[in-house]
Symmetry: C2
Subunit: 336 residues, 2 copies
């Protein structure tokens, strides 16, 4: 059997509760006693049983992170940043994959978590305001990324609208007028795809450019492969275009691949822009113009906010928008 607190107490010649006090940094302990206890812990190789502590105290020191797919670079990098930030607070992260479609997203998020997490960071892809009401989590929650208006939880948001507009305006300034868009989710009124598409349309309209609906191509999952397929469809349609706005970077990278394969020069024939600023965007050929949503910042802010809620902060729910940044690279500017 494993070493318990009782064993440590016996070894040190004190009561179990004193050992507990030492471990939890209770201030009123004689230095001599503390040393004895620590020595005993060390000698026996004691590891506290977190389940037992949790049972009594109600805290696990674990926070959940729900993301669509870890294999997508954006979420891998986000998870990395969240784990890093959580570590600063002495918390461990438990990751759940919600999968890329809406139905699964809803089931997974409502799955009982057995009081196992003290809080939940949730990065939804296709959910909207009406769905959020369904969330039955008892633990505090912070939403990442998506803007869902008037929801009763905290948000740390990507500036989807301003970021997308900045990308579109950049393309317009380069003289492009026929800007195709990849990754739309037809029929969806909420979620990242809808928000970014609307921002794209708005930016065009604001600059007096008609929205070319025939240049919008859908892609359910935002993978390289689906980006490549959507681009294939775009080319097959025979419609003219001089730029591609991909709703995220992986789609853009798939698009670049397909365009290059068909002998189109980037950016000479077609300029390409993405969203997310994943590491890969700096090293692709050509390097990718993209919107940096402030990943690290988002992770840090979100964890901080969650910790505040977990420690009983009951103030008004917050909506924090992370600052975005447009990185212009070869895919729109060329190598010069």
């Amino acid at each position: 059997m494993a070493v318990t607190m009782r064993d440590v107490a016996r070894h040190a010649g004190v009561s179990p509760k004193t050992v507990s006090n030492v471990m939890n940094g209770y201030p009123y302990i004689r230095e001599e006693t503390r040393t004895k206890v620590l020595a005993a812990i060390d000698a026996l190789g004691y590891q506290m049983n977190i389940s037992a502590r949790n049972l009594k105290s109600g805290r696990t020191g674990i926070i959940g992170l729900a993301v669509p797919e870890l294999s997508l670079p954006y979420f891998g990098e986000l998870a990395d940043a969240v784990i890093e930030a959580a570590e600063q607070h002495g918390l461990t992260v438990m990751i759940e994959q919600t999968g890329a479609d809406r139905d699964r997203e809803l089931t997974v998020i409502n799955r009982p978590r057995g009081h196992l997490v003290d809080g939940l960071l949730y990065s939804p892809l296709g959910l909207g305001q009406e769905d959020i009401g369904q969330l039955t989590t008892s633990a505090p929650m912070v939403l990442l990324g998506e803007r869902i208006f008037h929801s009763p939880v905290d948000h740390v948001m990507i500036d989807n609208v301003a970021g997308t507009k900045a990308a579109v305006e950049h393309l317009l300034q380069l003289g492009r007028r026929r800007i195709a868009v990849l990754g739309v989710h037809p029929g969806e009124k909420v979620g990242t795809a809808a928000i970014r598409y609307d921002a794209y349309a708005e930016a065009l309209t604001e600059h007096g450019v008609p929205v070319p609906e025939e240049l919008a191509f859908s892609a359910g999952k935002w993978h390289r492969s689906t980006g490549a397929e959507a681009t294939q469809a775009l080319l097959a349609s025979g419609r003219k275009f001089d730029a591609v706005l991909a709703l995220n970077d992986t789609l853009a990278l798939g698009a670049i691949r397909t365009l290059t394969k068909h002998g189109l020069r980037i950016p000479d024939d077609v300029a390409v822009a993405g969203f997310d600023n994943i590491d890969e965007a700096q090293y692709s050929t050509p390097t990718l113009t993209t919107v940096d949503p402030g990943r690290t910042q988002i992770a840090r802010t979100a964890v901080d906010l969650l910790v505040r809620r977990m420690t009983g902060d009951d103030s008004e729910h917050e909506e924090i928008v992370a600052p975005y940044e447009l990185h212009t690279r070869e895919s729109t500017l060329g190598t010069a």
Copy 2:
């Protein structure tokens, strides 16, 4: 307060233990009773407290996965596959990042886990046989990726040696003789870097080609950025080379970037090969020749193996080698 088993029992008119039995699929329960209990659970929205169960039963239903960095595509994709596989067994995955350097790798892995995980999947990067003795995990463990000889734990291994040799032989068959290698860890005798480098040297020797030690460039972390830097150093050295073997794909992609920027044509001037077959390798420009270590297979096998150990299988420790596959693509063959 949250709903407990006692509440459910009262509501259903049975004893708490009967509720427990229903939840755990104990066979001897009248259909009528089961229905009553399930109805009560549903009516009260009962969620079992995992900590309490764990305290008595010793099982949490959580397995740990320790990887160097989630932001590296290979590990993101691996984590995805592991979570998927664990779900099949009704297990949740807790991910820990060990960081890319050896010291941190050792501390993190020895950190007390507080009886929180039933088992651990561990994907080390720089550890070797002598380190493994230091692992103090009480829970069963399965090592992923690395070959560490005669260790007292189960392994699911990448076929580093055969895979690397296959890549090198492919380059040799193309007539390349001056094959640079990126990502070595000088001084390390164990770990992935050492194993792959040795296999590279061995393959050359077997084919009567001298090992060009002046063409080995180091990179501590295997990122795109370090791959780019190592390539920069390679070019700056002025030494001639007609191929690059990167010890993983991200390094290769960084290398491609730098080579292209310097006007070198791939594969005409320099052929490039990597290792891992991350999704990106199919969509880069040019697409990347690489060794597929059988990621999904590894994840599935490892989880199955771990589950067997967790359920008390005490047989001899196994070493399973996943089948690799060399994918030849444009970075060595050209677009024809």
